[in-house]
Every structure is written in C-alpha cells, then in structure tokens.
Symmetry: C2
Subunit: 356 residues, 2 copies
C-alpha cells in the first residue's frame, strides 16, 4: 500500500488501512478542501484522490472516527511539540528550489551546547558543500529560528534549509554560509531537563510573559549560542557576516534580538511576523529615532508575509510604521497564509541577498 502517492498530473492519492473504522477523512486543508471524506474498499483500505496540487511540501493527517493520526505508511513527519502531521512532497514538473537535486550537498549537524540555567541546548547546523574540505576557509552565519510549537528540527525537516541552500549555492545564487537552527522554546527545555511541567504558551504575543521569554531567548542567543558557534565552527565572527531570521514567533525573536543588539547583526530576516509600533516607540527608541544610523547599521531589514496570513494586517502596519520612520527595509508579500510553504519561499529569496 502506497500513501501518499503523487500521480504524474500532481493529483495525490492518500490511503489508510482501517477495516473497522466507521469514518476516515483526509485532514490538512493547506492544499485544498478540509476534512475530505475517504472511501473504503473491500480490503478495508480507505482512499481519496485530491488535486491537482500545486507542487510543494504539505502537512496532512487522517481523521479516523474523529481521532487525528499521522499516515502510518509515510515516514516523513513534521517535527512539532504538539500536533502530529505527516508530510507529502508534491514534486515539481521541473525541480523546485527545495528539491533534492544532483548538486554538491552540505551537511546538517546536530550539536549540544551549554545553555541557560545549566541546561544542555541543541542546535541543528547546516554547513555548506566543501566546508570540511577547505580547512582554513571561514563563513558567514545565518541564525534561523522556527515558530511556536516547532522544534529545532523543523527548519531542516519541513523547511528544507539544507536543500534550498545546496541548490542556490550550486547555481551561484547564494553565498556559501553556515545556518544555525536553534530551539525557540527554551522554557520547555528547562522544564524537561529540570523535571517541571512544560509551560503553556504565553497568553498573547506581546504579554509580559511573552516578553520575558523573548528576553530569555535573546540571552541564550547572545551569551551561549553565538559564542558556541564562533568557537566550534569556522565563522567570520563579526556583525557584517552575521544574520538573524525566523518564522512566526521566531520572527518576533529575530526582530527583538536584533534591535536589542544592534552591534551584533547586520542582516535581519523577518518571516510572517512583526513588532507593534507602540513597542517600537518605547522599547527601541534609539533604533527608530535615528534612522540614518539604523540604516547604516543594517545591511538588510527584510519582512515578508502571505496576504492570507492572520498576521498580515499587523505586519502591513509594521511596514508602514518603518516607512514613516524612514527606516529602510525590503519586503515581499506572497499569496498564502502562515505556513511552512511560505517559509521556504522566504528563505530562498533572502538567502540570495545575504552577505552580498
């Protein structure tokens, strides 16, 4: 039994074996209709064919008598703290920028580092093709943060960071760089390692609790992660060769960490996130009141969002605010929502601009 099966016309058939189930639906609306009913055959295999689907990688699940499950026949999964989803890769008629292609490949390293409060943190680190071959060559570094409920693996397993960079580097479109993917929810890690309960998400993106956690992440980044990476990898350890970026909560962590530390990052990539003008006015006064200095300090401030993203309006307000303050930025508005399909587009676009 194959599931999912991507057909030549980019329709996709999903199958699930459950002889005694009463109702099975295809969950995951990100490629079309939500909760599509599946039909059982005489062998007890439920199936449905949907599409044609626009080539991309999508999460999905099955809803079996009301219970959401991953596809047992598919080992590609979405690393996440909370939901369980499988991934379907609808390959392009010609290879997409995130496709495995016959080009030199970098490597992806799982590393531990000494983090806050005596805990051990983990990082997923992409090194570009040839990194191990040229023992004296040094590289710029892009710190790339995932979103709420994502893990440090999500940019690799869902965002395909490594393949996107492999392909862009092979085409000469991106500079070879190291990409460091941390875990954004360090409170959960502290709880796990110290035996406490995993804390709930903050009530509100700009609540006091959220801001306290933002500071905790920033502290870990500045005091632990960057020094660890600069010590253990061949980095060009200066501001102009250091970028920070992130998706969703990671975008908020990106903006705040960068604005709190204007001496640390020259490149900022904010994907599907924003800061409220009121916070900009109060917390980042020196950034907004001296646009000439800010524009000189930053080689790029990038903000991108899908026009169906639930954060679209706030992000548009943020961009208009930046313009009103004469702070330079680059922006991109795509179709689609607050999804990992969009993060791949944003990464592919910004990777071509960084460190140039």
């Amino acid at each position: 039994m194959i599931s999912p099966q991507v057909l030549p016309d980019k329709k996709v058939t999903f199958r699930y074996l459950a002889r005694s189930a009463k109702e099975v639906k295809l969950g995951g609306s990100q490629f079309g209709a939500a909760n599509v009913p599946m039909i059982k055959d005489s062998m007890g295999i439920w199936s449905v064919t949907v599409g044609p689907i626009r080539p991309d990688i999508y999460p999905y699940s099955f809803i079996v008598d009301g219970v959401t499950v991953m596809d047992p026949a598919n080992e590609d999964y979405f690393p996440n703290e909370r939901f369980k989803a499988s991934l379907v890769d609808v390959t392009g008629f010609t290879p997409t920028v995130h496709a495995m292609q016959d080009v030199p490949h970098g490597s992806v390293n799982y590393e531990y580092y000494p983090s806050v409060q005596g805990t051990t943190g983990s990082l997923v680190i992409y090194t570009p093709p040839g990194y191990d071959k040229e023992a004296s060559k040094k590289y710029p570094v892009f710190y790339l943060i995932s979103g709420t409920t994502d893990t440090e693996e999500t940019w690799f397993k869902v965002g395909r960071t490594n393949l996107i960079l492999d392909n862009l580097i092979a085409e000469g479109k991106a500079k070879p760089m190291i990409i460091v993917m941390p875990y954004g929810n360090i409170e959960a890690r502290i709880a796990a390692q110290k035996g406490g309960a995993k804390p709930a998400d903050p009530m509100g993106r700009e609540s006091a609790d959220a801001m306290r956690r933002m500071r905790g992440f920033e502290e870990d980044m500045i005091k632990n992660i960057i020094p660890y990476v600069d010590k253990n990898y061949r980095t060009i350890a200066n501001k102009d060769n250091r970028a920070i970026g992130g998706f969703s909560r990671g975008g908020g962590q990106t903006l705040r960490t960068a604005f709190w530390n204007m001496d640390k990052f020259s490149w900022i990539c904010c994907y599907s996130a924003y800061l409220p003008p009121a916070e900009m006015d109060s917390a980042f006064k020196s950034v907004v009141e001296n646009p000439d200095a800010t524009n000189k300090q930053l080689k790029m401030l990038w903000v991108s969002i899908g026009n169906e993203d639930f954060l679209y309006n706030d992000t548009a307000a943020f961009l208009n605010y930046l313009a009103s303050k004469k702070i330079n930025y680059k922006s991109l508005v795509t179709g689609g929502g607050h999804t990992w399909m969009n993060t791949k587009v944003f990464l592919a676009e910004t990777a071509q601009l960084l460190f140039k």
Copy 2:
C-alpha cells in the same frame, strides 16, 4: 497537560485529551501490560499511571476507539517506516549509560552520498567530542545498521548512539570513534526516488528476495558508503580500524557483509540476529573451513540476544554452530526481547571492546 510524566518513584502517568472518545487505552507492552485501559476525567483527559517501570527508553502509543496514535503532547518519536510510536524516557535514579550527562558531546551529522542506481542515500554520522578540534587526528569507524522498518535515524533517536558514546568516552571506557548509521532498506529509497511503489518486506529472512536485497546493501556499503566516509571524514582507513554491526535485519546485513568481505572488517557486532548453519556451510565455506585463518582475520565476532527474543533459538543454534567450527566469538544473553532497549545495552557493551 503533561504526558508522559515520569514520577519520582518511576511510575509513569500518561494523558490524552479526547472529550468525545469512547475508549482510550495505553498501547505498547514493552514496559508491562498491553493495552491498559485509561480513565476519563471531567475535562475529557484520559489518563493512567503504570509502573514502577525499570529505567529505560520505551516506545508507546495510545489506542483511541481502536485507532493507534502517537502522544500529541510528546515530541519524542520513534523514526520508523511503518508504525508511529512516541518514546518515554524513564530516567534512572543515577544516570544510565544513554542519559544526557554533563560530559563533552560529539556531534551527529546528516549527510547525503551518491548511492546505487543514481540515487542519493543518507547517512547519520556520529563524530566524537573534539573531532573538529584536532585537525590531524584520525579515527576508527563503526558502521552500525538498524532493523526492518527502522530508518537511518533510529540508532540516533531511539538507540542514543551519540549519548552512549559520549558517556563511555568521557569515562575512558570506549575509544573515540566515528559511527556511521546508514539506511538498511535501499530498495525503498530507490522506489521513493524513482517513483515506484515501496516494495513489501521479503517473505522470509532467508528467501531469495531477502538475499538479493542483502547483496544490494552490501554493494552499497562496499562501493559507496565506505569510500564516501573514508573520503569525507578523518578515518583510519584499514580493516583493523573498521567495525560493522547491526540490529535484527541489520545484524543479518552485518554478518553477510562482513563474511563476504573478510578483507574489510576486523570487528563484527551482531545484535539480535544470526545466520543459519546451512547458509554458513554453503555461502561462507572459506570462513568456516579455515577457523584459524578466520580467527586471525577477526579481532572480534560478537553475538548478543535477549532470552525472550523470537530469534533466540536460531541465534543459540548459530552460536553452537560457530563453536562446533572452532570460530571464536564473544556472546551476551540478556533478558528481554527483540527490542531497542536491548540494542542500547549491546551497543554500550561492544563499544567498550572495539578497536582495543
């Protein structure tokens, strides 16, 4: 909501939120009774406390109205081609050999390599602490293969290869080594990359189909994997510094690959697997008919198995056969069955013997 919650006395509470489910059971019998009923509270949270459980890492799942699901509250999963299981880590009163401890850590690298039929294979590679620090130091290599339906991630995520080695190396009990974890089911990868159906498992461990696949794996190991690793890592590229080992189907791949290539590996670690005496007689005549030469060629032939393993009788027969042929071996019989709890024990035992 915390799930699973390991209590101080090593009992474990599992929780699952499902307001409208009619029946929820704890699946996964590897730490005790199978299919333990869970009880719903007024909030719709089903729970059960079991144990005390012997400290180890165990797979488990929930059975919700007959549907097997992973624990949505737990991000630790068992990488597998077919079943979906979460992992519970019942930590020891003192740290186990696979526990995260405050010792120098190696790193785990995900790599692509050019494999058979133009496909791209993936490897998970452990490098010991300090590997990146001593640019001229070379290391022995242990090729370590997982079992049927496992992926190249299973030895890392379930077997904790990296933490076991970090701990043993820190204690001076194991030599620093590189460990290369390939994917054992290359037919599935070929199908995935060439667009075919994933082949079913062979009918029978010693069927013609199984043997053809064993040869395919061996070819990939000898022609592609070892040359890739020797080219891209600082290996001591000779027989006495090369070990091969594996669990279950990986144990069969280990024995056959080693016996087909007596010039390539001096160290053989077979976990929960065996070869039939009839196959030894016919396929490996030169190995069994010249025990003195074999004993000289091999620095270690290790075979270990749990006394409740469904392969126990065949493995006992294999060991008695080796003894009758005067081929030296080391063996270990533990309690327990054909499980990843046992693989960790076997790895920890053999890692202390290799390359000494």
